[in-house]
Point group: C2
Chain length 109, copies 2
């Protein structure tokens, strides 16, 4: 089953971070994401470009609805022309499989 | 007429930044906003707290619709529990009366 067909599982404190082999595997299923380390916490980040503000706002809202559905909440930054989405797992201070599932689902929106 | 009853005017390159007296006047009509200087550009910033994600997402979307209506586009950061809104005028590299009008309208949402 592909990442985007999966559903986020409840993430608990102490759940394992993804390892290097998993990252390599998961990156095959997502497009244009990169890992940014902020305050020592890895995040999956992608900037989606839009020439129309309403389209950007609609996309931003769709990501928020996906977040609610998956019960996993990214940082969404909406500015003129672009939406930056960052997924990471607060509870484990880094990247969980959930984050890659949500990145794949964001691509699919 | 109060700020929130005004409408953004088209902002052109070379339009004047608000001066100290105007800032003092305008700050009386907005609540909880502060000025943050980023890359030497002043921005009006406020964090709105929410205990419910859907409420935060709905508010974020309402700010985007206000932005579209006023044809003035803030930075909106949606995270679990909070929405940070920043208004500034790109064309003049700082704060225009429009930014205070939009801050007052954001408060009124």
């Amino acid at each position: 089953m592909s990442l985007k067909e999966n559903k986020c599982e409840a993430c608990r404190i102490g759940a394992p971070l993804v390892n290097a082999a998993e990252k390599e595997e998961f990156f095959k299923e997502i497009d244009g994401w990169s890992i940014t380390k902020l305050e020592n916490v890895e995040r999956l980040v992608k900037v989606f470009k839009f020439s129309d503000y309403l389209e950007a706002a609609t996309f931003s809202n769709a990501v928020a609805m996906l977040a609610e559905e998956e019960d996993h909440h990214p940082k969404i930054v909406l500015e003129w022309g672009a939406v930056e989405v960052s997924w990471w797992s607060h509870k484990i201070g880094g990247l969980h499989r959930n984050d890659f599932i949500c990145a794949a689902k964001t691509d699919a929106l």
